[in-house]
């Protein structure tokens, strides 16, 4: 029963997560690049309702962090002033994904205090804001690159399987080269040939194209198998005897059978491609500072003292876990749905339904 409910729970959660990330400007209290050199590596801000004198406040508030030592990022709360958390604060106009202008943020505190719900990094930038903005790159790299991979895979796989003969031979030998090479190293190699310095938007598009194109082979092989068996079916032969064109047969009889494999592959490829973007950015081959990505945020962890002293710096890695869990539960669902097991199970449940 849980398995059947999976997409109903997981899909809205994923869509919600992507929406939050897309609207990072609204949910994040600060811009991803706004620095505060006085507060490097500030720990997550504590939210209070009872102040140091034991007085209860109706509105949750924070205390400002105050450095305790010169040159070392050690802080204690400055109890001299209370900064209540305000909702729907008005800010200077910013743009959501570069399109829609907006003047509000969900929450914030008055200056000079800063609210760092997930701490701050070496430049005193808010980790939560960077995490949300970084998700725009890391989370969307997965689905967008998957669209490229699957489109190429369906196009080339269906062509190879349907036409067969030398087209099949050439395309599949080519695919085997891609499958035989270690995928991640191939990605590095191809990335190394391409320009390193460009705007974050250009780099993002470059990344998804490279990741997507390199991953075409596996979906293509699977879809080729489906097309290969489907074209031998007698109903395809019947359609040919009515005078159906190749395009008609592909569209009406072959591609509908691909949907199950395409969904399974999507659920498999998306988290893999999210991880690919994170890896590239972690190694400095992806999106460059100051634009955040979950990968380049984690790059700071290459320093041992940061991993050892400032635990909140590794939160972007933890953020990947629910994303992966969500996609892999979808993968499990679609795999079972796509397999013959489901036919056996569901045949008895609600009458035969060819999936």
């Amino acid at each position: 029963m849980f398995l059947r409910a999976t997409p109903r729970i997981v899909l809205p959660a994923l869509v919600g997560l992507h929406l939050v990330v897309l609207l990072a400007g609204f949910f994040a209290p600060y811009d991803f690049a706004s620095q505060n050199r006085m507060l490097p590596f500030a720990p997550p801000t504590r939210i209070h309702i009872i102040d140091s004198q034991g007085k209860l406040h109706a509105r949750p508030f924070i205390y400002q962090w105050k450095a305790t030592a010169e040159g070392v990022p050690q802080y204690k709360e400055d109890h001299s002033a209370v900064f209540p958390i305000r909702f729907f604060v008005s800010v200077p106009r910013y743009e959501i994904v570069g399109i829609v202008g907006f003047r509000w943020r969900l929450f914030g505190v008055e200056t000079p205090a800063r609210i760092f719900l997930l701490g701050s990094d070496a430049y005193g930038r808010d980790q939560l804001s960077r995490l949300l903005y970084g998700g725009q790159i890391s989370l969307f790299a997965g689905p967008l690159a998957t669209v490229i991979s699957l489109s190429l895979g369906i196009l080339l796989g269906a062509t190879a399987g349907y036409y067969g003969s030398w087209i099949d031979e050439v395309l599949m030998r080519f695919a085997e080269v891609f499958l035989a090479l270690p995928w991640l190293y191939l990605l590095f190699a191809v990335r190394a040939f391409l320009p390193m310095h460009a705007g974050p938007n250009q780099i993002f598009i470059l990344l998804i194209v490279v990741i997507g194109v390199i991953g075409w082979a596996r979906p293509a092989r699977l879809i080729r198998g489906i097309a290969l068996s489907a074209r031998e079916r007698e109903y395809v032969l019947a359609a040919k005897s009515f005078g159906a064109s190749d395009a008609y047969i592909l569209r009406r009889h072959i591609l509908p059978q691909v949907s199950g494999v395409a969904l399974t592959q999507a659920a498999l490829l998306i988290p893999r491609y999210v991880l690919a973007e994170v890896t590239l950015s972690f190694l400095g081959l992806g999106v460059a500072e100051p634009a955040p990505s979950w990968g380049n945020m984690l790059a700071a962890l290459q320093h041992y003292e940061i991993i050892g002293s400032y635990w909140w710096m590794s939160l972007p890695a933890l953020a990947l876990i629910p994303v992966f869990l969500a996609y892999y539960s979808l993968l499990a669902y679609y795999t079972v749905q796509d397999s013959s097991i489901s036919e056996a199970i569901w045949k008895h449940r609600e009458g035969f339904r060819p999936i």
Partner: protein
């Protein structure tokens, strides 16, 4: 019109005339050293008069299905000619072939395999209209439902999956699909073979009734001589890709000349012939 086809005096002219049709399959892969050829059809020639039924009988592997598929232009023969209504089907342009396909329709043995289980019954029956006439959905449906009634299926079943029909009903569905383009020649490739005897009889009678009301010509491919004799007026016996004997059903059955024909007749269950 092409060349005048020879026809015996007092008889209907030939609708279909096949001359020296040969089809060979090459077995073994590109790199295999053991490529060898299988001859599925060897110099097959016959004529089929309008409004009649020719039964093509023979053992499995004798080339009956390949012949049917050559006529439906699903398989390209290596050599020979197929004259249909005065035109050589093997020399048509693709546009003319698309038009000619309307006239020749094929009914497969395995109706379940010949129907896409993702489509509904009405979509399957109206598929030729979608391909050939690009009619709107509503018109296609109307014509398909009319055809449902013609072959004795309830229009109420139109939106079911083909897998929900019984074997006999599904074969009616296959006949409805084959008839929807108003063809002149129907190639029935073992169309009744998968059915049990009483349903075979119903279907055979349906086919005969449709033949007289729509003036259809049948090529009835079967391994079952009794059924062939019931449906057909003429019979051609195939063995290893060749037609070894042909003639009217009465002549061939009463006086079989070729040893293979005698063997086939003798092995009809209950015919009193020797047991094999």
């Amino acid at each position: 019109m092409g060349p005048e086809l020879p026809s015996k005096a007092g008889q209907a002219p030939s609708l279909l005339k096949v001359q020296n049709l040969t089809k060979r399959y090459v077995q073994g892969g590109w790199f295999s050293r053991h490529q060898f050829e299988v001859t599925a059809l060897e110099n097959v020639s016959f004529a089929l008069r309008r409004g009649t039924t020719l039964a093509l009988v023979g053992e499995s592997g004798s080339g009956k299905t390949t012949l049917g598929r050559c006529l439906a232009r699903l398989v390209n023969p290596n050599s020979g000619e197929i004259w249909f209504e005065g035109r050589n089907l093997l020399a048509l342009s693709s546009g003319a072939l698309l038009k000619a396909r309307r006239q020749i329709q094929l009914v497969f043995q395995e109706s379940a395999a010949a129907m896409n289980p993702r489509l509904s019954a009405v979509e399957i029956v109206s598929e030729p209209l979608l391909i050939q006439e690009r009619l709107r959905r509503k018109e296609r449906r109307e014509r398909a439902l009319a055809m449902f009634e013609r072959v004795g299926l309830s229009p109420l079943w139109a939106d079911r999956s083909p897998l929900e029909f019984s074997g006999g009903q599904r074969q009616r569905l296959a006949v409805a699909r084959a008839l929807i383009l108003d063809p002149t020649l129907l190639i029935l490739d073992e169309a009744l073979s998968g059915l049990d005897l009483s349903i075979q009889m119903h279907m055979a009678n349906l086919l005969l009734a449709l033949q007289s009301s729509l003036s259809l010509t049948y090529l009835f491919i079967s391994h079952d001589l009794r059924l062939a004799a019931y449906v057909a007026t003429e019979i051609a016996v195939m063995q290893r890709g060749k037609i070894v004997e042909s003639g009217s059903v009465v002549d061939v059955f009463s006086n079989p000349k070729h040893s293979h024909t005698r063997l086939l007749i003798d092995t009809i269950p209950g015919s009193g012939g020797e047991r094999v």
